[in-house]
């Protein structure tokens, strides 16, 4: 075209570019960028271990290994959405798992054994919530740190500190059952039940957080608790509910792990609260509350699983895994900082 129109456009691109990034690319990357990261990591793994990584068996293994973390992380996510934290989930997982195993060894019928772990989770979460709101603890960190020790102590106390193994099939169903799908090129395709369960749980949480009044109010509390309060929202009651749900998910994770290992052991879940927090942060949630999406958290869980799996396949020591996961947490938050700079520039 003419020189003048070129010139006219010449002044615009920069403005148009950053506007495009801010209004279209950023929101898109916010929601789906994590999927891109997963695909990238997957491709690298595939490249490093072409024979093993992308097999049905390995992929379903990843899901089985990350399921407990997935259950913990989604509960942790709604707590972090309210700008809180729950340090007790790993211990509550163990308490649920041990209660279940001890009750089973004591001859309780399986339908009771099955619900014991989630019930213990609900009880622990409820106590956390009531403690944080009614005892007016200065920060959820304190109450849940207390619960971390109490639940771990109880798990040891009721079991005498020793593992119990051997659980009935219905109790193991969630953690270890597989659905036979058919045969492909001579391999039997089995789908772990826990994978389906994880998908269902994440879908339910997506509905809860994006489409129910309760869920939107969780975001509001994270954004500005005072705004929620003066809007007539009973913030304390909401927080009790949120911590109770988080505890419930820890109990579910206990059931999953009991099923997978066919046992209960009192030091189960040690450090898993930190892995859950890591998955939530990698998944794009903000520690200050009110930010993050279910899909991102799912991505965070998968990324943690992929990295562990990939490093295992490549015979990298678990010490290096810890270092790598630490680096990724810092990197993920740093990317978020950069993104926010770009997003708020006017």
């Amino acid at each position: 075209m003419t020189a003048s129109s070129d010139l006219e456009n010449g002044g615009l691109p920069e403005q148009a570019d950053t506007d495009g990034i801010r209004t279209r690319l950023l929101p898109f990357m916010d929601r789906f960028g994590i999927l891109l990261v997963i695909v990238l990591i997957g491709l690298v793994m595939w490249f490093l271990q072409p024979d093993v990584f992308f097999t049905w068996r390995n992929i379903t293994n990843i899901f089985k290994q990350t399921a407990a973390n997935g259950m913990l992380s989604i509960g942790m996510f709604i707590v972090i959405l309210t700008a809180g934290i729950d340090l007790s989930v790993g211990s509550v997982l163990a308490l649920g798992m041990m209660t279940l195993a001890v009750a089973n060894a004591g001859g309780m019928p399986w339908p009771i054994v099955l619900v014991l772990s989630p019930l213990m989770g609900i009880a622990a979460g409820f106590i956390n919530g009531v403690g944080i709101t009614k005892l007016r603890m200065p920060h959820p960190f304190i109450m849940t740190l207390g619960m971390l020790f109490i639940a771990r102590g109880l798990a040891n106390l009721i079991s005498g500190g020793v593992p119990y193994s051997g659980l009935p099939d219905p109790v193991r169903f969630l953690g270890s059952a597989r659905i036979y799908l058919g045969e492909l090129d001579g391999t039997r395709l089995n789908l772990p039940v826990v994978f389906l369960a994880t998908i269902v749980v994440y879908f339910v949480f997506w509905i809860l957080l994006e489409h129910t009044v309760f869920g939107r109010r969780i975001y509001a509390i994270g954004g500005n608790p005072q705004a929620a309060r003066v809007s007539g929202i009973n913030v304390d009651r909401m927080l009790v509910a949120v911590y109770t749900i988080c505890g419930f998910m820890a109990g579910i994770a206990g059931l999953v792990m009991a099923g997978r290992t066919n046992s209960g052991f009192p030091n189960a879940g040690q450090g898993m609260e930190l892995e859950a927090i890591a998955a939530v942060i990698i998944g794009g949630a903000s520690f200050f509350g009110g930010r993050g999406h279910v899909l991102g958290i799912f991505g965070g869980v998968i990324i943690m699983g992929l990295i562990k799996n990939g490093l295992n396949l490549n015979d990298v020591s678990s010490f290096w895994q810890q270092i790598l996961i630490g680096a990724i947490i810092i990197l993920a938050v740093f990317i978020d900082v950069l993104r926010r700079d770009l997003g708020t520039r006017h």
Partner: protein, 272 residues
């Protein structure tokens, strides 16, 4: 006979919409309010002035149910009322725009307007109640249009808005459900100069709709632009009050400093 009838009807017309009698508020050892009274008539804009710490915000929070008074009574539409939370006062049509605005920056304009009173819809044959985002967006857009508040989109997050736009959203929020009284705590304090006029016009607009407004402000321009009456608090007590036409700016400024003399004299004294 007829005279008594007109007498009584005139009395009814002159009855305050909201009244506070002998309000005390203690925070531990601090007495924030001491025997404070107020009458707010239908469709009037009442300005409240006072120095920092005079108790203005505390008094407004008592009126809106965020604080319950240590002593004293509130009377709304002739009946004594007791608010245990802002939810109770909002149900009667008393709304408050807080000094810090009380908006959730991470949520969009529509969600902020309807926070705590979200439109809902039932799905799965009534088994599950969901937040009705679509209706919320439509209602918010209509409401903002009604108030002549212009925003790019009601789906914008509040953290992306300017101070004046946020104030407008907070006001829109306070009037979204047939408010009868809107209480505003320093609505122009944090605004750029060019945004102040818009917010004041918005307040005048509320008055035209028959809504009673209580507005706290330090700016005499605000008070003399929108108010019908002005009252001053000093050290937690009623200090003075007057209809706008009976008050001068310097007089009102004097009240803030605890002086009922004409400010001119005060200044004059100082020069001496």
């Amino acid at each position: 006979m007829t005279e008594t009838a007109t007498e009584s009807s005139r009395e009814t017309a002159g009855e305050p919409l909201l009244e506070a009698r002998g309000i005390y508020k203690y925070f531990g050892a601090v007495t924030a309010l001491r025997d404070v009274s107020l009458k707010l008539y239908p469709g009037e804009v009442l300005g409240v002035v006072g120095d920092n710490g005079a108790g203005k915000s505390t008094f407004m929070k008592v009126l809106s149910g965020l604080h319950s008074p240590s002593e004293g009574t509130l009377i709304f539409e002739g009946k004594p009322v007791h608010f245990s939370s802002p939810r109770d006062s909002r149900e009667l049509g008393i709304e408050m725009v807080y000094q810090d605005l009380a908006l959730a920056g991470n949520m969009n304009i529509a969600e902020n307007i309807y926070l705590g009173r979200e439109p809902r819809r039932k799905v799965l044959g009534g088994l599950l109640t969901l937040s009705d985002h679509k209706t919320g967006l439509r209602m918010a857009q209509e409401h903002l249009d009604n108030l002549k508040i212009h925003v790019k989109s009601v789906e914008q997050n509040v953290e992306e808005l300017s101070g004046g736009q946020r104030q407008a959203v907070a006001i829109a929020r306070s009037t979204a459900f047939r408010a009868k009284v809107v209480i505003m705590d320093e609505p122009t304090a944090a605004l750029a100069v060019k945004e102040v006029g818009k917010v004041l016009d918005l307040i005048s607009g509320l008055k035209e709709r028959g809504i009673s407004v209580v507005i706290i402000s330090h700016r005499m321009d605000d008070i003399f632009y929108v108010c019908d009456r002005v009252m001053a608090l000093y050290h937690g007590s009623n200090f003075a009050e007057a209809r706008l036409e009976d008050a001068s700016r310097s007089e009102v400024i004097g009240w803030i400093m605890g002086s009922k003399e004409h400010i001119g004299t005060v200044a004059h004294d100082r020069v001496q």
